[in-house]
Structures are given as structure tokens and as C-alpha cells.
Amino acid sequence: MIAVLVTGVATPIGEQLVRSLMADTRVRHVLAVSHLPRAQALTLSPSPRLTYLQVDLTQTRRVRQLVFGPARDLGVEVVVHLAQHRSARSAGRKVHKLNVEALRSILDLTDRHPTIRRVVVRSHAEVYKVDPHLPVLVTENHPLNLSPRAAQFVRDRVEADLTACARMGLSRAEIVVLRCAEALAPGTGSQLFDLLQAPIALRPAGFDPMVNVATIADLVSAMERATHGSGEGVFNVPGYDTLPMSEAIRKWGTPQLPAPGPIIEPLYALRHRLLGSEFSYGMNRRRMHYGLVLDGSRANNELRYAPSHPIDWRVGGSIEASHTTTTVI
């Protein structure tokens, strides 16, 4: 029986993870954290096994108070860190503090913590470099996108990932980094999901890369397995669905139009300005040309994770654009 601290529970993935942990008889207590008041963050009914705290993780002092306060008092053994900005358009110091520095603080504090023995960090497939010279099927030692020209959304994710990786073997706690496939669901920060909400999905003519997308249920399953597992390392967490981008757009029910790259970027920029949409063609240019499919062999061998929840493509077109609004965690 363990107690688990989950950050970023105001996200659909965070909330679903809390629900799963609450249903798990191996979990004694869940300490759920987000920056929002409980009523806005969680729809779960109160339970003596669930503690909710509103904490601003960009404040180092608040993180310390959380880790050496309630987390110590509840005897938290595992931290699942999900808190990151989901908006690709968010930028600046405050964003970086949440995306990277909050994790750095948690890892620092964990080293001196009396009960925490394991930290599970959600990373992203977006940290990988996409290039025609590189394999389509991506293992954990695939090059990362270290381009200084990458958007802060990507740079922060790469830095957070490497921050966690750099502590492996040196920290008292076991560190697990889960590089998760994009969750094709509202509120998850998925760029592809936002693209699918467009009236017409424009994609580069002459290219149709393979993509791999996941459901929230599969990602939560991987996180649960990492929570209860032993050992540390980096694991790709692929989704069930692997298909060409054009096929994903078609199955979702969105009209699509292949067009020359130079005219796509300004059109998506215009869409962002007029509608406040999230998708950035500049950030996804390479992904829309060359394939990237996560190889989940390591997660399968060591965490016994295999994606088993396919995306329900029939519901794609029925999800309203209003659900895509992306907020800070």
C-alpha cells in the first residue's frame, strides 16, 4: 500500500490518473495537486483516501512546503509529475518555471526526503528530433530536438526530460521518464488534436508521414505501471493507433487539403489570430513531413505496458471546438 503525489491533476490525464489510483487497492492515499481550486480541478467526490491541494508549483517555496509538509506527513512514496503548460503558444519565464524548474525542485527535494522513493515524470514524443535521416521507428536513444530555434514548448519539454535523465542513478529515488505519444483528446495540449478541429486540415502536399497517437486510458495505464514498478529509466509510451496523417484526418472526419508548405504556415497563423487556435505549423513542420512512431519495446519488456485502447475515431467530429481551449495547469 503506497501513497502517491500527483501534480497537474486539473488536466484530463491527471484527473483520470487520480481516478485510477483511487480505484487501485494497492494505493493507500492520493495527494492531488494543481494550481486551481478543487471545484475547477477535480470532479471526484471527496474521499478519506484523497487529499487535494491548490499549489503554485512555480514557487519553489510552495513546492518545498508541499513535499516536506503534506507529502511527508502522508508518507508519500511515489510522485507522478504531470504539471506542464499545455499551450504551445505560452512562453516566458513563468512558463519555464512550471515546465522545468518545478520538476528540478521536486527532484532536488526528493534527494533529502524521508519517504519518497520513486519519481515518475511524464515526458513527450515531441522531444524527439524528426528528420528524414533518422529512423521512423523511434527508440529511447533517438536524438532529441535540441534546436535552439525550436519553440519554447519543445525546448522546455526537452530540458525537463534531460533534467530528469541527468538525475538517474545519482538520486536516492528511482526516476522514470515516460515519453508519451500524443494523446488525441481535448485539453491534453495535443497539436494534432487542434489541427483536426480546423474546418479544413491543410497538410504539406506530397508528404504523408506515419503518426502514432494514444488515448488517455493508455497513457494512464502506463503511468500506473510506472508507479508500481521498480527500477528506473526512460520509456517510450506509444499509443494503439499507428497510421498515416492523412488517414487520421480522414477518420476524424475533417476535410483535408494538401497544399504547398509556404502557404500553409500563414494560413494557420491567421487561424490562430482569428480563432485563438493552438496549432503551430512552424513547430510541427517536420512532423508533417516525416514519420515518427514510438517503439514501445522497452516499456513492454520492463513495465509490461502495451497499448490496448484504440481511439474511437467516430467521436472525432462530434467533439466541439470549445473543448480544445487550453489552459495553464
Binding site: V136, L137, D208, T242, L243, V293
Partner: protein, 266 residues
Amino acid sequence: MLGNADTADRRARFKYADAGHGYDRFGLHPDYVALADLVTGPFYERYFRVRTYGSEHLPSSGPAIVAANHSGTLPFDASMLWADIYRNTSPPRAARAIADYFVTGLPMVGTTFSRTGMVGGSRGNARALLQEGELLMLFPEGTVGIGKRFSDRYQLQEWRQGHCELAIRHGAPVIPVGIVGPEEQMPQLARLPGFGPMPYVPIPATLFPMPVRYHIYYGEPIALQNQFTPEQADDPDVVSEAALQVKTAVHELLQQGLAARDGVFK
């Protein structure tokens, strides 16, 4: 379904690792494989009138690497070899062509070829395919081979060694292949500097390949896995020795084919 009964039969017997939506993880789709079978058919049967020798050496299952000479300015040799393997294996196997990076970066071409099984020439792609028991098709001479001068025909150019490292590490036999014919199909007069993803722009003597006859010779599989341990894949001397074996075998097949043919077009 277009095509004749043979095309439909091969389509029906073709097996692949469906990743869930009809495509494999690299983008292969059986309908595109069947389409490629259909499109290459007239070239294979009537234009280049391919004759094949030793196709019994092609394994019907399991990982293997087909290594051939490369030539002809345009990669018709790769298309004909792909078609020949597809037609002469049972069940039909779509050889996974390992292409130079620039090919995967070409609009339309990269996507279309990937639907028939082509992948970019990265070690990671090749490793994953061998682990899945696929048949790789590669040309160790690379773009240097396809762009060789007419005076260099049937002279193997610099022979890359990566295929032998992969074969030793993953226990895959190498099937040497000598293709006689394409080295004369489209003599190259000159080449211009490349642009974009193109390494160069060839200036051939003819606008379209001449109807030379193709003779495809498959040699006995070279069981590198029986000669070397997987750990020796890291030994450059071992890999060089293995690559020399393959190159020598291809050279001998070419000499055999050249001695046996009556003329370029016959």
C-alpha cells in the same frame, strides 16, 4: 481490382505486419504493394524482359538481406529487383528497399515508395525491420553506383559495409545479387550539381532507359551468422572481411551473367 489473375493471387497471398489501420509501422500498405506489382508488370515482362536465375536462394520467411549492384541513372534496377523478389517468393515478399536519405525527403516519391515498403537508410530502420523478420533490399554502392560513368559499367564502386554489420548482429543471411542489363540502359553524359534533396542532376544520353534485357542472378546465401558472432559486428576488420565476401560474390555473379548473355538487348 486491376491486373491479371497472377497479380490478384499475389495480393491475396501477401502477408505483412498490420499495425492496426491497414498499414505497417513504416507505412507499407498491401494495396500499394499490389499497385506496384501492377505498374512494374509491363516493364518487368515486356520492356526489360527480366530473366531470373537462382531465385530459390530467396528465403520464404525470416530476416535476410539482398545486396545487389546498382546502376542505370534512374533506379529501374531497384524496381525490377523488387518485382522479381515479389514474384519469386512464396508467399510473396515485398522487399524493404533501403533508400538513400534524399529519396525519403522527395515529395510524392518518398511517400509513395514507403507505401510499397521502402524506408530511409538509417541503421534504426534496418535494425527494426530485421527484428521483425523482413527481407531488406539494398545497394551497397549507393548513389555513387547509380551515377557511375558508362565506362565504369559492371565495375563495382566503393562498397559500403553497413549491411554486413547488420547481418552479423542480427543473424541474417546475405543474398548476393548481380543484375546484368541496367548498367547500359541509360548512359550518363554528365551531371550537374544537385539542389534541394537531390545529390546531383544526371544528364543521360537518352531521355528514357533503353529496352535492355535484365538478367537477375541470385547467389547462394552467405551465412555470416555462422561465420561470426553477433559481438563481432563491432569489429571493423570482421565487417570489412564480410563485406569483401559479399562484394566478391556479386562481382562473380556479374561476370557469370556477362559471359552468358548474347547481347545487351537479347
